[in-house]
């Protein structure tokens, strides 16, 4: 096995797994929503409707790819590509098992945060390039929301970094061997989870595409495959934040009896299911409530968490 082929196989595996998972997630989410909301969900295409996503993909692939004539063409095309690319790239540093990551960067956490903040561009550019009022308002809301919650996301993870003493995601997992960080960092976990939900722009934080006021928000003018990119990227984003939650707070691949990768998959799927449950049960807040929640509750909480963690680590050292 030479230096090129090894990573290449990993990359193909990771890309394939992530994309399949994202596609499958669409079906999983709709079935789960059906379950929790006491209705069927997709059950026609294939056994249990399992092939629903495939059918959706085929349909979308053959749809006309409409470019609005008033749109800023280049930007309009690039925007969905950005979000797709950067969310996929974040997976490069996520460790699926011991030593199983495309790149075990020593600044892995910073890489993930950097990539996830880049996806703001996609939303902002897409909304502006559409030349549509709904798109613009939706994208502005999305940008305001995403940059706000990015701050809390970064702050909430500082406690974990402090405890683990490293940015390397594998090291962070290893540091949880005795005790998962979800207990000592429970405040951090709470803040991170809320911020992560807001970053993925999902219910209850789906104001950017609040369909009863903004049609579809920043992707109102998108159709065909470019729309699918925004759509799939959202599900990849859900997978990403679930995987991150697992790595940062739920002990990553650690667990008894089973294979580490299996543990990682089980935990990630559990978090995903929880996110879907939230979607099934919570209403959407107003925009002022959304910002107030972040700036007036999460920010002080995250700062206090950081100070307390620092004090505890200091006390332990002495």
């Amino acid at each position: 096995m030479n230096a090129i082929l090894g990573p290449l196989i990993t990359i193909v595996c990771v890309l394939g797994a992530v994309l399949t998972l994202a596609a499958l997630l669409i079906w999983v989410e709709r079935r789960l929503l059906g379950l929790w909301q006491d209705r069927y969900g997709p059950n026609r295409v294939g056994p249990f409707g399992l092939l629903q996503s495939v059918a959706d993909m085929v349909k979308i692939f053959f749809k006309e790819d409409w470019l609005p004539p008033l749109a800023d063409r280049a930007v309009f095309i690039i925007a969905p590509g950005i979000v797709m690319a950067v969310t996929l790239l974040s997976f490069a540093v996520v460790p699926w098992g011991p030593g199983l990551a495309v790149a075990d960067l020593n600044v892995g956490l910073l890489f993930v945060l950097a990539m996830s903040s880049l996806s703001v561009y996609s939303v902002a550019l897409g909304g502006w390039a559409s030349n549509n009022k709904y798109s613009l308002l939706g994208s502005l809301r999305a940008v305001g929301q995403m940059i706000s919650y990015e701050v809390f996301m970064g702050l909430s993870l500082l406690g974990v970094v402090l405890q683990a003493g490293s940015f390397n995601l594998s090291d962070i997992v290893e540091a949880q061997r005795g005790l998962w960080f979800c207990l000592p960092q429970c405040v951090g976990l709470g803040v991170f989870f809320v911020a992560a939900l807001a970053e993925t722009k999902r219910i209850p934080f789906d104001l950017p595409e609040g369909e009863n006021e903004l049609v579809a928000g920043f992707h109102t003018e998108y159709s065909g495959f470019k729309f699918a990119m925004f759509f799939v990227a959202e599900y990849i984003g859900v997978t990403l934040v679930s995987a991150l939650t697992v790595v940062m707070f739920l002990g990553g691949w650690l667990g008894p009896w089973l294979h580490p990768v299996a543990w990682f998959a089980i935990k990630t799927l559990a978090v995903i299911a929880f996110i879907v449950l939230i979607r099934a049960s919570l209403p959407r807040p107003r925009y002022d409530q959304l910002l107030a929640l972040g700036w007036k509750l999460l920010l002080p909480l995250a700062l206090a968490n950081l100070l307390v963690t620092g004090a505890i680590v200091l006390a332990q050292g002495e």
């Binding site: 230096a3 409409w66 495309v102 709904y134 613009l136 940059i147 990119m229 950081l306 002495e318």
Partner: protein, 136 residues
């Protein structure tokens, strides 16, 4: 070194995937432009004015807050990394830094810069407070 190589290959792979999937479909897709399709979508109503409207300045305040606090996080990350090397100095530095930050934070909170709908600042007249709640 292999890590960097892995990242680079992953970047190339990701970007290629996006490019290929954006372009390959062109071979199969229909293309039927039309007069009505070209209009800006406003739920069937005739469009009014430009699509790229001037938007609310309040988003600017959010952006300012973001810049302030994100820079702070950029400072805190290296700090968290080296914390264990000098815990005592690092902790008091942090306490001082966060304390300083909280002064500004309290100021911003007191005068409504954290609110989407601004109250009248300090009980005095404020032009911004009269704007309607939703974006113009």
């Amino acid at each position: 070194m292999t890590d960097v190589l892995g990242i680079v290959m992953f970047v190339v792979g990701g970007v290629l995937f996006v490019l290929v999937s954006l372009t390959v479909g062109r071979l199969f897709r229909p293309r039927r432009p039309g007069q009505l399709k070209g209009e800006i979508y406003e739920c069937g109503e005739p469009t009014v004015g430009k699509g790229q409207v001037q938007f609310d300045l309040r988003f600017y305040v959010v952006a300012m807050l973001f810049v302030i606090f994100d820079v702070e996080i950029a400072l805190l990350y290296p700090w968290a990394q080296v914390f264990r090397q000098f815990p005592k100095a690092a902790f008091w530095d942090l306490a001082f830094f966060v304390g300083l930050l909280l002064v500004g934070y309290a100021f911003a909170w007191r005068y409504g810069y954290l609110d989407w709908t601004r109250p009248r600042a300090g009980g005095q007249a404020d032009d911004d407070a009269q704007t309607p709640e939703q974006e113009r």
